[in-house]
Symmetry: C4
Subunit: 176 residues, 4 copies
């Protein structure tokens, strides 16, 4: 519910959506998770991410959100994106089952490649599932303006994803 | 009224005004609107904007605010402006009646063009009303310093316009 | 006093000080002032500034704060500083008695000039008082690193000086 | 403990960790300390820092945190890092016992040197202890993406380390 001080006690959904012909790309932050130490202090247990999701088009500006594929960007991957030059590319590999007995079964690859004329990037997600013998690939063209929104919003979110805002909003220490 | 914790419960007016010979250009953010889901969660229903308004001069540093023309910048248009290089231009088209029976009657065009010497930009708003057979155009020259204020303030406002600050200021999650 | 929620009810002093051989340069933000409309809304009545002060040296790392000269940077002057290229200069003129009968008596000039080797800037304040026939000039060399601190802190402060943070921290609007 | 408004009353630990083969580099902000004046105002008594710590590797992704060496970056040193060009280097010297009778006994040097191919930096900490006749040096290679995280997080933290956020979050002043 919406409390009197204007803060929501429930979850807030605030995706940045880029709707294109073959798919929609959505981005939204995921906050870090904290563990509470015996001293009462909080420790970042799991860093936050920026979750990218790719949903295939099934009509004009209609997308099949049920079939969306997810890719969670780590702080360092976010750092790579926000410092990407206009002619640069980058590529990240994720294994959703890393360090489990299912490791290696599914391989996700996110690729960011510049347009030849410098007018933006192609962002692609490939998912290869060696068990189900499925290989999917979806590409969303992103304009320079849309990438500037992502860069600004990701830069804003990054310190929060790292938990630095929690540290910084502690009460001031007085030494007088 | 101004509550004890220093937050205003009423509206706050905080325009950035650029006063020039033929017109004044004002910019101010407009927050997103949320819908409340049954779960108590909030969802961005309509994204915020940065509202530009152009008011014609009617004397020395006097402007006719009643005759102002508005242009609401979307997040992606803001992304275009804040990533604009010193020699680059951009142009946006709005139809205030888009998707209604009046579509196509009024066409607004915002143009941002660089000064030849790189010392700033010309920002123009054209409004063509095909019903009233009216065509207006107002141009405000913006210095590099004024554009830097806009870029910094727009970059600050962008995550708020997208609703990302509401998401991020939720209470920390503990997994301990 | 320091209230329980960690916010200070009194004033907070947080200058950024650059101590050099002939003078010290201090910078700190000054918040905007609001007027309260009958509707309960707040309106920015006077924009904030970043106050620069120059204090002459009277010994090793000792400065005569009583003799400091002030220069209050407007939002647009801040925009000029934070967008200054490594080889660029800028200059601002202030008349503290502008629009009064004493106009023209005192003229303050702030100059920012790049070092020849690109390693920083010279920041100078000249004060010419035509009544007292006094002309003072103090210059502080500022390294690239110190200027980066100023650029980052000034960029952080700018939306607050403009009052945009007050607008943006209003409770979320629900349209459901 | 975690209070109902989502703010932690205890300390929050939120390091940014870069794990490499020979050592781990951690960074986290340290807030400024305030003194309380008789008027009830707060004054920054000691500026905050960003604390870097270097811990030697003792196995695969295992580090000896007990043997970590610390280096506290001042605001101006942070300014130097966040404005560092891709081909630039910088170097800082600290004497932990400066201005005491032990001055000169220990000398810490932090060096940041660009990779030859522009793909990042080497960050090294040297500690020379003239009393114990010990000289240690640890180097962590930092990618461009990791450095972008540091630049973004350090830029976010800088105004807080300087105490400017405390000044800026004071209640608005009304002059009506």
């Amino acid at each position: 519910s919406l409390s009197t001080d204007g803060k929501a006690s429930g979850v807030v959904f605030a995706d940045y959506n880029i709707y294109k012909g073959k798919a929609a790309l959505s981005a939204s932050p995921r906050l870090p998770q904290f563990s509470k130490l015996e001293s009462g202090s909080l420790k970042v247990e799991r860093q936050g991410t920026i979750m990218l999701s790719f949903s295939p088009a099934i009509g004009e500006r209609k997308y099949d959100w049920e079939k969306k594929q997810l890719f969670a960007l780590s702080p360092t991957e976010i750092g790579s994106l926000i410092s990407l030059g206009p002619d640069e590319a980058c590529e990240f590999f994720h294994d959703p089952s890393m360090k489990t007995s299912n490791a290696g079964q599914v391989r996700k690859t996110l690729q960011v490649k510049p347009h030849a004329d410098g007018s933006g990037y192609f962002i692609s997600l490939s998912v290869v599932n060696n068990v189900q013998k499925i290989s999917e690939r979806v590409t969303v063209p992103v304009t320079k303006a849309e990438f500037a929104v992502m860069r600004t919003a990701f830069s804003f979110a990054l310190p929060h994803i790292m938990g630095w805002d929690r540290y910084i909003n502690q009460p001031p220490k007085s030494i007088a």
